[in-house]
Every structure is written in structure tokens, then in C-alpha cells.
């Protein structure tokens, strides 16, 4: 009898311990909804069951990411921390920049509070891993939308927030006028970027030999160029403008009049969660639509009593627009109230009053000849 009991006891103990092992991190660290714990236990306590049997338990219902974010109480947003104008930390530790504002807009839509966002600085090489593993909820870090990234890298891109192109910065005294003059030149580029790939493609197609010097971080890349270790420095044109202000002598450098590639920069989420992707997508559209409708953070109060059904729907006064994508119905109003429309975001970070003074170029509404176009909110 005793001998019979023994193995059973051992197994029971082992199971209990295993379950504990699985549960500890949860108990210790999350205000997680109680429902998740049984799932984890079921998952671990039955090591013998096959993966298919275990995985449905681990798979959250559609819209899981939004639930996770809301129960956690803040949005975690992967951003750049060294590109003034797009994502930068000032000496007091505050994040600012164009991409950063879109994180705040998403937080505003979810929580009605743009400060409920934790910024996770990422370098170009880390960013997709962080998104894939769930380390960040959304990536708003001057990321170029490409097919590979959409497909095999596992991203889902929101609408393009900034249309850019790759450029090349050189010294004025180097005598370089075009890419063709760069035969044998040494070019500094950051790894893990589309620019790294485009550089290789462009020079290969023009049959120009070059030597790439590749750094993992953006700042050392530029420093290497600035100190003369490279003859050229390549990244997105907006980035070049931002970096030129950081140069020891900004006037010694110039940006070649050539666009090496299309660089549509867009926020991205991990694929496989359609609802969350929709939410991010429509927050971006909301900023564009607001500019088109002429609604700003300053005058949004004036629209409260409007009779225009388009605007009423847009601001969530009537209709159930947000519910379909897991957001509150007045998400657009929250975004505009706290962060502003596209124009406000642009001007605050890149516009005429900033050191960058980037012309809007393609980044204007379609009505003004640009590419910004929001599908209707209905």
C-alpha cells in the first residue's frame, strides 16, 4: 500500500511545485486579471498533453493586447531616444518628438490621459525583437514600412505618419556632388535600418564601390562621420536635417540633392492581433481627419454642439464608432483634446518654430497636394 502511495505522492508534489513555479512570476509582478492564473496552471500542470491542447488556453481572446494594456494601466511604446524632432530625451528626462506624440495620442485614446505611457528607448536593431516578444505594445520609432517587415518580420503597420526619403550627407569641401562621385568612399550607416540595405542596393545598381562602416547606435554613427572617419553619412532626410544641427560645424556639411529610396515611416504593432492594429490605425487616421475637418485642441470645445453628423460621429457624440475597434466612442475627441491634430503635432516638433523647420512636402493633406488621406469615419 505504502509503495503504491509513493509515486502518486511524488507526482502530486511535482505537479504542485511545477504549478507554483509557473505562477510565481505572476503573483509577484502583475495586477493581471485573475482569469490568467488558471490558464497558466492548466498549461504547466499537464506537461504530458500535446501543444495544441495547451495553446488555446494561452491564447487570449481577440483584442487581447488592448485588454492587457488596460489592465496594466499604461501603454508601453518603443521609441527613439536620440533623434531630436522624432524621439528624444531632454536633460530632465522627458521624451519629446513627432513619433513620441503618436504614442501619447494612443494613450489618450485608451485612457483619456496622454501621460499613461511608458517609453522604452530602443535602437534600430532591437526594435523588432522588442515588438515580437511583446516587450513593447506599439513601435513608433521612425520605422519604414516594407513588405518584409509586414510579412516575415511580423509587423502590422499603421498608416504612414511621415513620408520620407533616404538622403546622403557629405562634407562641403569633399567635392562630392552626387552619388557617382563617391567611388571608393567610406559611408557611415546604422545597422538594422532600411537605409543600410538601400545603401547597398543603390551603390550596387550604380556599380559604385564603397566601404560601409556600421554602428549599432545612431549617435556613434554620426559621431564617426562628424570626426571624419567617414566620407558620407546616410539616413532618412528628416534625420539628416536633425543630425546636421548636432554637427560640430553644421555649415561644413551638406545634404546631397538625391533621394535614394522611399521611406514611409509608420507606427507598427505585432501582427496577429487585428483589433489592436485597428485601434492604432484609427488613432493615426483621427489626427489626419481632424486636420481635414479643422478641429484642433484649441477649438474642439466649439464643436461640441455642432449639428454636422460627420463631426458628431467623429467626436463620438453619436454612433458607436469606437466600440468596433476596442476603443471608447469618443477616442478621436480624446486624441485631439490631449495631443492635437496632425498639423499641431507636426508643427510642434518639426515645423517652422523648431530648429528643424522641415517643409511639410508630401506630408500635407490630399486637398493640398499631399498624401495624407483618412478614410471616412463612419
Amino acid at each position: 500500500m505504502r509503495r503504491q502511495v509513493l509515486p502518486a505522492l511524488a507526482t502530486a508534489l511535482a505537479l504542485a511545485l511545477t504549478a507554483c513555479g509557473g505562477q510565481t512570476p505572476q503573483a509577484a509582478n502583475t495586477p493581471a486579471p485573475a482569469t490568467s492564473a488558471p490558464a497558466a496552471v492548466a498549461d504547466t500542470a499537464a506537461p504530458a498533453t500535446q501543444a495544441p491542447a495547451a495553446s488555446p488556453a494561452a491564447q487570449p481572446s481577440p483584442g487581447g493586447r488592448i485588454q492587457t494594456i488596460i489592465s496594466r494601466g499604461n501603454l508601453i511604446c518603443g521609441v527613439n531616444s536620440v533623434l531630436p524632432g522624432f524621439g528624444n530625451v531632454d536633460s530632465t528626462g522627458n521624451f519629446s518628438g513627432f513619433d513620441v506624440e503618436f504614442c501619447r495620442a494612443i494613450a489618450a485614446a485608451l485612457f483619456d490621459d496622454p501621460t499613461k505611457v511608458e517609453f522604452r528607448p530602443l535602437n534600430a536593431q532591437e526594435r523588432f525583437t522588442a515588438l515580437q516578444s511583446g516587450e513593447v505594445d506599439v513601435l513608433s520609432r521612425n520605422t519604414t514600412a516594407t513588405l518584409t517587415r509586414d510579412g516575415s518580420v511580423g509587423l502590422d503597420f499603421a498608416p504612414v505618419t511621415f513620408y520620407d526619403g533616404q538622403g546622403m550627407m557629405v562634407r562641403k569641401d569633399s567635392g562630392i556632388e552626387s552619388l557617382e562621385d563617391m567611388e571608393g568612399a567610406r559611408i557611415c550607416v546604422q545597422s538594422g535600418t532600411t537605409t543600410e540595405l538601400n545603401l547597398a542596393d543603390q551603390f550596387r545598381s550604380r556599380n559604385i564601390n564603397f566601404e560601409a562602416v556600421i554602428f549599432q547606435e545612431a549617435d556613434p554613427t554620426f559621431q564617426a562621420y562628424d570626426s571624419g572617419q567617414c566620407d558620407g553619412f546616410t539616413t532618412d532626410k528628416s534625420g539628416l536635417v536633425s543630425y546636421q544641427t548636432k554637427a560640430t560645424n553644421p555649415d561644413d556639411h551638406m545634404i546631397l540633392d538625391v533621394t535614394m529610396s522611399k521611406e514611409p515611416l509608420a507606427p507598427a504593432v505585432l501582427q496577429g492581433d487585428a483589433q489592436w492594429a485597428d485601434a492604432v490605425r484609427w488613432v493615426v487616421y483621427a489626427t489626419i481627419e481632424a486636420e481635414e475637418l479643422g478641429i484642433t485642441s484649441a477649438n474642439i470645445g466649439d464643436f461640441a454642439a455642432t449639428e454636422d453628423p460627420n463631426i458628431r460621429r467623429f467626436l463620438g457624440v453619436e454612433g458607436e464608432l469606437g466600440a468596433g475597434i476596442g476603443l471608447p466612442n469618443d477616442f478621436a475627441a480624446r486624441v485631439i483634446k490631449h495631443v492635437g491634430n496632425y498639423q499641431e503635432i507636426y508643427n510642434r516638433n518639426l515645423g517652422p518654430d523648431t530648429p528643424f523647420n522641415l517643409p511639410r512636402g508630401l506630408n500635407t493633406l490630399y486637398t493640398e497636394g499631399g498624401l495624407l488621406y483618412s478614410p471616412p469615419f463612419r
Binding site: R2, R3, L6, P7, A10, L13, A14, L15, L17, T18, G21, G22, D43, T44, P47, A51, A54, S55, A58, Q59, Q125, E126, R127, F128, T129, Q132, T148, R149, S152, V153, G154, E183, G184, A185, R186, V189, S191, G192, E196, L197, L199, A200, D201, R204, E211, A212, V213, I214, F215, Q216, P220, Q223, A224, S227, G228, Q229, D231, L270, Q271, G272
Partner: protein, 398 residues
């Protein structure tokens, strides 16, 4: 049940106090916990990857990589595959490690001996160097060397040392050799020289054994080999009219030097940092190894009439070596592993190439697996080699 017989035979001890049974039980529990935990992690990972449609897949290894690599020991262009890029990463890591190990050993031995020198100044400088370098993080030192290298003049204003060597902020350009038309013929001469050297070496060793007297064999053998090669060098110059090796003097082109070889700053900074850091530890190993040799050995060697140099070379060092090998192995491994810090200063080692690859392909898990396995195998192979060497020199004792 394997646990049953013991508890039956020894009826006096209840099963829950029988240490053997408890041991088996504990282990089973432990195994369950570990396996369960690993399963828990694994199933979470697979569920996450499946949800976002990113299941591990190794086909990317044969896809074209498309990204440039700044330096590589074998030809590379972005049209090559990811697998090939990986090989370059591994080769770069090995290149740094091997060069680093050799230089660090040389510097380390010098430091170790200096710390025991009778010259007070030399001893103090060596001690100061050790105390300075080993208390500062390697990464900080690497940053220092990297930025230091940027402070050199731009390539257009290189520091010119006799037209043969140029220092600039992209690296050091050295005059190097270029093979002439008679290079192939000269290789045959080198072969002959090498053979003659080996024969001489063996012959002398046999002679020593027969006469039962120690003596020097290797320098003479090397001298013979070099002599034959030199004779061939001159004969070929006379017969074919061209030197088998010509000087390749660097000339500044528009953006870079043509000819010679250039050691890039990234590579130089990495080697510099690794060597200076690791040499400190090797120096300490050498010092304590030498100190550990019994004092009587030194005195006996003196009494036999050996010079201090001979004492160090023939008596102290071979014995110290035996103590030094195991800690030396772990320093060599540390250097290899530390070379992964290359990623911070822009040298394309294994970890940096892997980082780019996982960024381009999204295959995080397979890429990290390959990286881990590569480092592990390098470590294990090095350990095996050093263990083998350790065994060999331990045998010399008997």
C-alpha cells in the same frame, strides 16, 4: 519500481527516512520542476510565435543578406546569403580572439615578469598599470579607445611616418608586401627551407638524446629555414629579374589609401581594449605562477651554474606553466567572450552580424540559438584544446 527493493530489505528503516529513497524522490521532483518550467517557457514562446505567425524557420539562411559588412577576412558582398554573413561574423570573432590572445599573452608575460623585476621603477609602473586597468570596466575602456581613435587627424591630413606608415582616424595604413611574378617559385624554396629546418631539428634532438646533454635546437633550425628562403629569394631575383615579394607602398587616393594594408580603427580599438585589459589578468597569472615555483628550484639552478635567463627559461617557466595553464584558459575564453562587446564600437563580429540578421529577418529565436551555439562551441573547443595541452605538459613532469 526501482525504489521498492531497498525498502523491503531494510525493514528497520522506514522509507521516509531512507536517504537513498529520499534522494531518488527529490531528484524526481526536481526533474519534474525543471522540465515543467522549461515546458512552460517553451509552450508560451510557441504560442506567442504562432499567434503572430513567426514560427521558427531556418530557410532564411540561404536567402541573400542584402546588408553590407564593413570588414571581413574573406570576400563578401551584400548579394551573399545570411548563412555566409554568419560565417563572416564567426571568422571576425575568431580573428579578434586569436590575435587578441597572442598579443595579450605576450604583453601579459612581460607584465608578469616586470612585476617581479629587481628594478623598482619597472615593478612600480607594472603594478600601477595593473591596478589602473583592472579596476575599470572593459566597455568603458573600449569607448575610450574608440573615441581616442577619432581624435586622430582626418585621412587627408594623415600623420606620415617616412611614407611607409600613415596614422589617421580611419586606422593605420602600413606598407605591406605584394607578391611578384616569381612568388610561386619562391614558395618551393620556402618548402625546401622548411624541410631542411625540420630535418636539422630532428637530427639535433636525436643527438642530444644520444649524448644525454641539453642544447638548443629550434633557433638553429629556424635559422637554416630562413637562410634557405633568403638564398632562394636572391636567386629568383637574379634569374627572373623581379623580386618574389615587392613592397606595396600606400598612396592616398581621393577617399582612401591604395595599396598597403589598413587596420581599421574599430578593429584596432577592439584589439587594443581587449589586449590591454586581458594582459593584466594574464600578468597576474604569470606572476603568481612564477612565485609559486619552489624557491629551492631557483637556488638549485643557480648552484648548477645556470644564468638567471637560463634559470627562468629552463627551470622556472616550465614549472610555472603547469600552474598557469588552467587559469590562462579561462582568460582566453573571457577574451573570446568579451569580443562580443565589438557590437558597441562598430566591429562586425558574430553578435553584431546576428543582430542585423535577426532585425532583417525577424527570426529571433533561430538566430539567437545559432549565436549561443557558436559561442558555446568556440568555448568548448578552446577548453578541450587547452585541457589537452595541460595534460601533455603535466606528463612532462614524470
Amino acid at each position: 519500481m526501482s525504489v521498492a527493493p531497498p525498502s523491503q530489505q531494510q525493514a528497520r528503516i522506514p522509507f521516509y527516512r531512507d536517504t537513498r529513497i529520499i534522494a531518488v524522490l527529490l531528484q524526481i521532483i526536481f526533474l519534474f520542476v525543471v522540465v515543467g518550467f522549461i515546458w512552460f517557457l517553451y509552450s508560451n514562446m510557441m504560442a506567442g510565435l504562432r499567434r503572430s505567425n513567426l514560427l521558427p524557420n531556418y530557410s532564411f539562411l540561404s536567402q541573400p543578406a542584402g546588408f553590407p559588412i564593413s570588414e571581413s577576412p574573406i570576400p563578401y558582398d551584400p548579394g551573399r546569403t545570411y548563412g555566409y554573413a554568419f560565417i563572416i561574423g564567426v571568422l571576425n570573432t575568431l580573428r579578434v580572439s586569436v590575435i587578441g590572445v597572442v598579443l595579450a599573452t605576450i604583453l601579459g608575460v612581460i607584465i608578469g615578469i616586470s612585476r617581479l623585476s629587481s628594478n623598482w621603477l619597472l615593478r612600480s609602473v607594472a603594478t600601477g598599470y595593473v591596478e589602473l586597468v583592472r579596476n575599470i570596466p572593459l566597455l568603458l575602456q573600449l569607448f575610450f579607445w574608440m573615441i581616442m581613435s577619432q581624435a586622430f587627424p582626418r585621412i587627408q591630413d594623415s600623420i606620415n611616418l617616412g611614407g611607409l606608415l600613415y596614422l589617421h582616424n580611419r586606422g593605420v595604413t602600413l606598407t605591406w608586401m605584394r607578391e611578384g611574378s616569381s612568388f610561386g617559385a619562391w614558395l618551393i624554396w620556402i618548402g625546401i627551407g622548411g624541410l631542411a629546418g625540420v630535418i636539422l631539428y630532428i637530427a639535433r634532438r636525436i643527438q642530444f638524446v644520444r649524448r644525454d646533454r641539453p642544447g638548443v635546437a629550434l633557433p638553429w633550425a629556424l635559422l637554416l629555414a630562413a637562410g634557405v628562403a633568403l638564398v632562394g629569394f636572391i636567386i629568383l631575383r637574379i634569374s627572373s629579374g623581379t623580386w618574389p615579394l615587392a613592397l606595396d607602398i600606400p598612396e592616398l587616393q581621393r577617399f582612401s589609401f591604395q595599396g598597403g594594408i589598413t587596420i581599421t580603427t574599430n578593429f584596432a580599438a577592439l584589439i587594443m581594449g581587449l589586449v590591454i585589459y586581458t594582459a593584466v589578468y594574464i600578468g597576474e597569472i604569470v606572476r603568481s605562477g612564477i612565485q609559486a615555483v619552489n624557491k629551492g628550484q631557483r637556488e638549485a639552478a643557480r648552484a648548477l651554474g645556470l644564468t638567471p635567463g637560463q634559470t627562468l627559461r629552463l627551470v622556472i617557466f616550465p614549472q610555472a606553466l603547469r600552474i598557469m595553464i588552467p587559469p590562462m584558459t579561462s582568460q582566453y575564453l573571457n577574451l573570446t567572450k568579451n569580443s562580443s562587446l565589438a557590437v558597441a564600437i562598430g566591429f562586425p563580429d558574430l553578435f553584431s552580424v546576428a543582430g542585423t540578421t535577426l532585425n532583417q529577418t525577424g527570426q529571433t529565436v533561430p538566430v539567437m540559438l545559432i549565436v549561443m551555439l557558436s559561442y558555446l562551441s568556440v568555448s568548448l573547443v578552446t577548453s578541450l584544446l587547452m585541457n589537452w595541452y595541460n595534460k601533455r605538459i603535466q606528463l612532462v613532469e614524470r
